[in-house]
């Protein structure tokens, strides 16, 4: 990949990136894993965070990544900004464009980051748009698999949970489609299966996957178990949420059926699907996954703003 392929680029969907570009990102991120060293690569730059929805890991790991590279960070808080007065995404984006060198945006509407990217002359990184995309999470998830399992290809993945509304799960599946997994099992209750347009797209991308409803049937062959919580906030009908609430849960008993060396990933936050007693199991990798968000996003920022010199 040439150095300039990343420079100034928007990050809207992981589908926009080639395998080679992702591997280049992972290589760059590897250099940032471990004790941090002071860096000033982005000392002349300002990163804006604009989160219209709650966030802990995405917001803070982008902020930490920017600070560790010497950049300054400004933050748009929807609850104390003119958004409360009804300011449009259009006008807000035009302001952020003038005040910063890169915008990280999370928004409850699908397509918000794409719209912002069309409006903005500075790069926009999608920190999650509705139930659609969360590209940097998917990059982080694949990076975690690569570090912990040594490879992404040839493994069997089980994506368990809310595969209908969880953008992390969708983006992870899209990311897997860039590689060559041995098999992907998409396990969820009937009503939480991926939307038709997603399964069609996955088929079009050539991803080998099966829709399943029983986790135990696939645990024995799973190398990576990717779990998501039910996205209560995205259900159009609260009654539908009540029907599936608590419909799946990872237990020690289920974990004991896993193959040797398998890992459990979760984008967090968790709900009842991931009890705290799983944390002590050797398969639990989700805290490591969350921590790797900083080096991954350092590499991402550096590549986009710094022109690929990560």
């Amino acid at each position: 990949m040439s150095r300039d392929a990343w420079k100034g680029r928007d990050v809207i969907s992981i589908l926009d990136f080639s395998r080679q570009e992702l591997e280049s990102l992972f290589e760059a991120a590897n250099a940032f894993v471990g004790p941090p060293r002071p860096r000033n690569d982005l000392a002349d730059y300002i990163v804006a965070t604009a989160f219209y929805e709650p966030s802990t890991r995405t917001r803070l790991s982008f902020t930490t990544a920017a600070l560790r590279l010497g950049a300054k960070v400004i933050d748009l808080s929807p609850d104390v900004s003119s958004i409360l007065k009804g300011e449009s995404l259009h006008d807000t984006t035009m302001m952020l464009e003038g005040y910063s060198d890169l915008i990280v945006m999370r928004h409850p509407s699908e397509g918000a980051a794409l719209l912002a990217a069309e409006l903005s002359s500075v790069p926009v990184v999608n920190g999650g748009d509705g139930s659609q995309h969360h590209p940097s999470q998917a990059m982080l998830d694949l990076f975690t698999v690569r570090r912990l399992k040594g490879r992404i290809d040839g493994l069997t993945y089980t994506v368990l949970g809310d595969n209908r509304y969880a953008r992390s799960a969708t983006s992870f599946l899209y990311g897997l489609a860039k590689f060559k997994p041995k098999m992907v099992y998409i396990v969820s209750p009937e009503t939480l299966r991926p939307r038709d347009e997603i399964t069609k797209q996955l088929k079009g991308l050539g991803l080998r996957f099966e829709l399943r409803s029983d986790l135990e049937q696939v645990m024995g062959s799973t190398d990576v178990l990717y779990l998501t919580r039910i996205q209560k906030e995205r259900f159009p009908d609260p009654n539908e949420y009540e029907k599936v609430k608590g419909s799946y849960k990872l237990t020690k008993d289920v974990l004991s059926k896993g193959k040797s060396g398998f890992i459990v990933l979760h984008p967090l936050p968790r709900s009842t699907e991931l009890p705290y007693d799983v944390d002590s199991d050797k398969s639990a990798a989700y805290m490591t996954q969350a921590h790797l968000g900083v080096p991954l996003r350092m590499a991402l920022l550096l590549k986009i703003i710094g022109g690929g010199k990560a």
Partner: protein, 172 residues
């Protein structure tokens, strides 16, 4: 003269029409829109801006048999040449439609309805959480053609697909 002539028996006038008897006279000048799915003729008129309201004479031939389509409608608009842009829009509700432009009783041009690759501001996304719905004052609706038969368009912003029935419902 203005008004709409409707014909409910087998009949037609289109040069491409099947073996049917002529029930509507030929038009000296104007447009003959053939191969409209049965029942869609009035929607086609609406899409053309209801030309009868501007003084044009209209003939509707509805539910005639067609070897290609089973049943179909035909619309003739006397004195109005349907533009290429209108033909493209026609494709949204009558994707198999063909338009003959007539001058002095002769067909001087044939235009097939070809669905546009991109639609701006014509359709609305049905996903209530799509940015094109929530920020509609500043975000235009943009759809990309994702299937011709059956007709499907995909929202640029949220990826939600609209099928033929939904497209017709919005435009008809």
């Amino acid at each position: 003269m203005m008004g709409i002539t409707t014909v409910s028996r087998r009949g037609g006038q289109s040069p491409n029409e099947d073996k049917t008897t002529m029930l509507v006279r030929k038009i000296p000048d104007g447009s003959v829109i053939d191969h409209i799915a049965a029942g869609k003729a009035l929607s086609v008129l609406r899409l053309l801006g209801n030309p009868q309201e501007n003084g044009f004479t209209i003939a509707l031939v509805m539910n005639v048999s067609s070897s290609k389509m089973g049943r179909k409608d035909i619309v003739k608009v006397e004195g109005l040449e349907v533009s290429q842009e209108q033909v493209q829009k026609l494709a949204l509700i009558a994707p198999r439609a063909s338009v003959n432009i007539v001058r002095s009783y002769r067909v001087i041009a044939k235009r097939n309805a070809v669905p546009p690759r991109t639609l701006r501001g014509i359709l609305s996304c049905t996903a209530t959480t799509c940015v094109s719905v929530r920020e509609k004052d500043s975000a235009p609706s943009i759809f990309f053609l994702s299937g011709r038969s059956p007709l499907r368009y995909r929202c640029k912003y949220c990826g939600r697909a609209l099928d033929e029935k939904e497209i017709s419902a919005q435009l008809g």
